[in-house]
């Protein structure tokens, strides 16, 4: 890799001459070091996957934290003791019905595949959330990267100006279960994790520091730092200057997080809610090239008052998701953007004494939209009360394999930790072909 020394000291007119003299010295000194910048950690420059990257695929994950009910969304059981008060309504796909709480999605099912047969075997929030982030159990000594980190690694550009993995989680409930994990891929693939608002921390320069100052200071840093790197080698050394090299680019992505750049009409369409605005930002990011955005909505854990909770949350989901799919479609992005709805688990068909539904990982649903999935299809089936999977049972690993295949990533691809090969999904998992068009 060769790098052009970035010593563009944009001098103000009054200092033009003296700055030029500094520039000369800086360029001379930096030129010496260029060759040594090749000693970089191989992880920052994945040689493979370049072809995939050109395809420009993206993922927007709608993380329904706490566990959304499949019965009030994708797999209603009207008229059964487990069905609850809501009806099922027909959709744009003849014969397929979803909950009446999702009228907008019902009209737009042509780009969405529903999976009704997840059995993921873990009903505790923390462990289950990790499983549904990693596509497998965390192993004692191996820290696996989560879906976002893998996608960032596979589809991101090493020197991208937009962040390659952004995660929104502004609620506090369940946030600890949903932190990004880059695992053995290294911190380069950690998400920009937004918990306090819609703008990332440390993305704008401090007050009193002009853009020129910021830039010149960074150039001086690079000059001094590359002198140090010259003739030295170390596993982590390259990543340090790489990280700083990305700072200015990422700072320029700050506007992506600014919804006021969108028209009032567009903002009204998504709705001026936190969830709506974050979804709009997700679209802006994807449009600018970000491979993976997670938008979390909490808290779906309706042990009591399940039906009131879902009336509110599903209605919002329906509106925002439909709006996102329309918008992506209008912009020609939907064919390259996979929109996923996922929770840590679903909810029990049996309605408890508080009119709630409890944790249920045995037979629940997820959805995949866009990115060439088999739109309008339904994969898998639960029994008439939704208590068990009757047909097409899959686990978290199979779902992840399906997601990877939809993105054009070989789910059997190995990463190596030392000499140990670690496939993207565990041995024995397979993508659901019926979901992929």
């Amino acid at each position: 890799m060769s790098r052009t020394p970035r010593s563009k000291f944009c001098g103000s007119p009054e200092h033009a001459v003296s700055r030029r003299s500094f520039l000369g010295a800086a360029a001379g000194a930096a030129a010496l070091t260029t060759a040594d910048m090749t000693v970089l950690d191989s992880l920052t420059q994945p040689a493979m996957a370049d072809e995939l990257k050109r395809q420009g695929k993206h993922v927007i994950l709608l993380w329904l934290a706490g566990g959304a009910s499949q019965l009030e969304t994708w797999d209603p059981k009207p008229g059964r003791p487990t069905g609850g008060p809501y009806r099922a309504i027909p959709t744009s796909t003849p014969g397929v019905h979803i909950s009446e709480l999702m009228p907008k999605m019902a009209q737009r099912l042509q780009n969405t595949a529903i999976i009704r047969s997840l059995n993921t075997g873990n009903g505790s929030h923390g462990d289950a959330a990790r499983i549904m982030h990693l596509g497998r159990r965390d192993e004692a000594s191996i820290k696996y990267p989560d879906l976002g980190a893998v996608v960032a690694r596979e589809l991101g550009q090493a020197d991208a100006k937009s962040p390659d993995y952004v995660a929104f989680y502004t609620a506090t409930e369940g946030r600890g279960n949903a932190y990004g994990q880059a695992g053995f891929l290294g911190a380069r693939y950690l998400p920009m994790f937004l918990t306090k608002g819609n703008t990332p921390e440390n993305l704008s320069a401090l007050e009193g520091l002009s853009d020129i100052d910021h830039k010149e200071r960074a150039a001086l840093r690079e000059l001094l730092s590359s002198r140090f790197v010259q003739g030295r080698s170390g596993e982590s050394l390259g990543s340090h200057n790489e990280a700083y090299a990305r700072v200015r680019g990422l700072m320029s992505s700050e506007t992506l997080f600014d919804v006021s750049q969108e028209s009032d009409a567009m903002r009204d369409k998504y709705g001026r809610t936190l969830f709506g605005e974050q979804m709009l930002i997700a679209r802006r990011l994807v449009e600018a090239g970000t491979p993976f955005v997670k938008v979390s909505r909490a808290w779906w854990d309706s042990h009591g008052q399940n039906f009131e909770t879902h009336l509110e949350l599903v209605s919002e989901l329906d509106h925002v998701m439909a709006c996102l799919l329309d918008d992506l479609d209008d912009r020609g992005l939907l064919q390259d953007t996979l929109v996923v709805t996922l929770s840590e688990f679903g909810r029990t068909p049996t309605i408890n004494g508080s009119l709630g539904r409890d944790h249920f990982a045995k037979a629940w649903s997820a959805s995949l939209s866009g990115c060439g999935v088999n739109g309008g299809s339904v994969y898998g089936e639960t029994d008439e009360d939704g208590q068990t999977v009757k047909d097409g049972e899959i686990g978290a690993g199979d779902l992840f394999a399906t997601i990877y295949e939809a993105l054009g990533i070989n789910h059997r691809k190995d990463y190596y930790v030392g000499s140990r090969p670690l496939p993207l999904t565990n041995p024995g998992t397979a993508p659901v072909k019926e979901v992929l068009a």
Partner: protein, 543 residues
């Protein structure tokens, strides 16, 4: 020893197990009374000769001082310390420095940080309070192993050590894997689901054999307990159900007394007792026959203890030399031989013969020629890392990086030349302890560590970085630079204070040019220069 009753070599069953715990013939090793550093020099030189590799020259005095201080006491030298060391013509100054550092309070603080990460990184907990006490008295490593695995909650000496188990007890697979990885250098986790594809040594029998030692350990309201009954069983890849043997990782199988039969009544009584103890916040009673204690005894038994010794020797080697003699450090098995087998054998033997003395081992490791080499290769191809022919470049742990930043940003006047050594150390310890809030912003490095862009963003745009490191008060470096009219002098002082060395000509030229271009606001120009140096790789790494 009591455990010898139960030790039984299951030779027929496990004769194929080929863990290279077999020591080299002791007669082939250098004599036991050779100083550690000489032994390292001998074997490393021998290997370099065989590889036809030329080492880099010794690092400059000032850089070696910084490296040694960061490794032993987790802070860089002050300007006065660095300049005095550079000027000192005493031929034994390095040996004297090492002895002094190992006796200083910073040594315990920093080794406790390092050890706490080594033991607890993956668990989210800490045993630091215990470690400080144990390291203060240089408690032997075998004793620390015992405390960490068996420590009694209410024992003053062992206080807090059992947190090591407690933090992992909810996941016995994790406990099994991490005890094996950390204390025995053997990561058997692959063998949890299937026999290891590459390593004949590791089968499911080994994983579940090791797990058996923990199978009866449980949590009771925040107290670690151990039952007197219960067996670990598992399904083989062929789907067969098996009861695990009490099998130590080297292939040694232990007999255990007949498993106690529990009637429903016994179980009920036990549950009532445990519930009561939980309510009273008391520890469950000790078992008559503790399998965890058996594991400790077996790992430390004569003839079996070499793996235990090699694991810590190799881990400490990796800490000071950038990679293990066996690397990765938790892959000590036949298919992953050490780069210097005799050296590892000798060091392990020496460690056992000298009572598992960590201080002695660390002292020896940092006195070698290989440790003291320059990390810069002026030209030519890099020799293989296994030759240890070039000094290593290692990312600093958060605490040490924060200490570097905070010390560097402090005015040199804060440490006047006439200050006593004791006062200087106390003052430095004060700064280091105040740096711990910044430390929390940084990630703990692990193998393959990469600096995150979040760190670069924080350092570039974080308010705290500006307020804590770029203050212009008289106690801050920037204050001192602003008060130094001569620019050449200011630049000289800047490099000594931040990098513990004089500036190179090219650096002086670049910074002079930068300052000249910023004549109108020199204080701001200096703050940019300080920032640029604090954020350079030189400050981020030990090199």
């Amino acid at each position: 020893m009591k455990c010898s009753l139960f030790l039984m070599l299951a030779a027929c069953l496990f004769s194929t197990a080929n863990l290279w715990i077999t020591p080299a013939n002791a007669d082939d090793l250098l004599p036991a009374d050779t100083p550690i550093a000489s032994v390292i020099n001998h074997y490393v030189n021998q290997r370099m000769a065989a590889l036809r590799v030329q080492p880099t020259p010794p690092a400059e005095d000032t850089l070696l001082l910084r490296r040694t201080m960061l490794d032993l006491v987790g802070r860089p030298p002050t300007l006065v310390e660095a300049q005095a060391y550079a000027a000192d013509e005493n031929p034994h100054k390095r040996d004297e420095l090492i002895s002094r550092l190992i006796g200083s309070p910073g040594f315990v603080r920093h080794q406790a940080d390092e050890m706490d990460q080594f033991l607890m990184l993956s668990s989210g907990g800490t045993v630091r309070t215990y470690l400080v006490k144990a390291l203060e008295e240089n408690r032997p490593w075998d004793q620390m192993f015992r405390d960490l695995l068996l420590g009694e909650t209410d024992d003053v000496e062992q206080k807090g050590a059992i947190e090591f188990v407690k933090r992992r007890v909810s996941d016995l697979d994790k406990l099994t894997t991490e005890v094996s990885s950390i204390f025995l250098g053997v990561n058997v986790s692959c063998a949890q689901c299937h026999n290891h594809p590459f390593v004949d040594d590791w089968t499911q029998d080994h994983f579940y054999g090791m797990k058996s030692f923990f199978g009866r350990t449980f949590d009771n309201g925040g107290f670690v307990g151990e039952r007197d009954y219960g067996l670990v069983s598992y399904k083989t890849t062929e789907g067969e159900s098996r009861e695990a043997k009490l099998l130590f990782i080297t292939g040694v199988e232990l007999e255990q007394p007949p498993v106690k039969e529990m009637s429903d009544k016994d179980r009920k009584a036990e549950k009532e007792l445990l519930d009561k103890l939980k309510k009273d916040k008391e520890a469950p009673p000790a078992p008559e026959f503790s399998l965890r204690a058996k594991l400790v005894e077996t790992a430390l038994a004569t003839g079996q203890n070499e793996l235990f010794a090699k694991a810590i020797v190799n881990n400490l080697w990796a800490r000071f030399y950038g990679r293990g003699l066996v690397d990765p450090v938790d892959q000590m098995h036949a298919e992953n031989p050490p780069s210097h087998p005799e050296l590892l054998d000798w060091l392990a033997r020496d460690f056992i013969n000298n009572g598992y003395n960590l201080q002695r081992l660390i002292d020896g490791l940092v006195r070698s020629e290989a440790y003291a080499r320059s990390s810069r290769l002026p030209e030519g191809d890099y020799p293989p890392a296994t030759a240890f022919a070039v000094g290593s470049v290692r990312p600093l742990r958060p605490e040490a990086y924060a200490a570097v930043l905070k010390m560097a940003a402090t005015s040199p006047d804060f440490f006047p030349a006439e200050m006593s050594v004791e006062d200087r150390e106390n003052r430095a310890e004060g700064i280091v302890s105040r740096s711990r809030t910044i430390a929390r912003s940084f990630e703990q490095p692990a193998p393959g560590f990469q600096v995150s862009v979040d760190e670069a963003l924080l350092m570039s745009n974080g308010d705290r970085i500006r307020s804590e490191l770029l203050s212009t008060s008289s106690e801050a470096l920037l204050g001192k630079l602003n008060a130094t009219p001569d620019r050449a002098e200011a630049i000289n002082l800047l490099f000594w204070n931040v990098c513990s060395r004089p500036p190179e000509a090219g650096e002086v030229e670049a910074i002079q040019a930068f300052l000249s271009s910023r004549q109108d606001d020199l204080p701001q120009a200096y703050s940019h220069v300080v920032w640029a140096l604090l954020t350079s790789s030189e400050c981020r790494f030990n090199y």
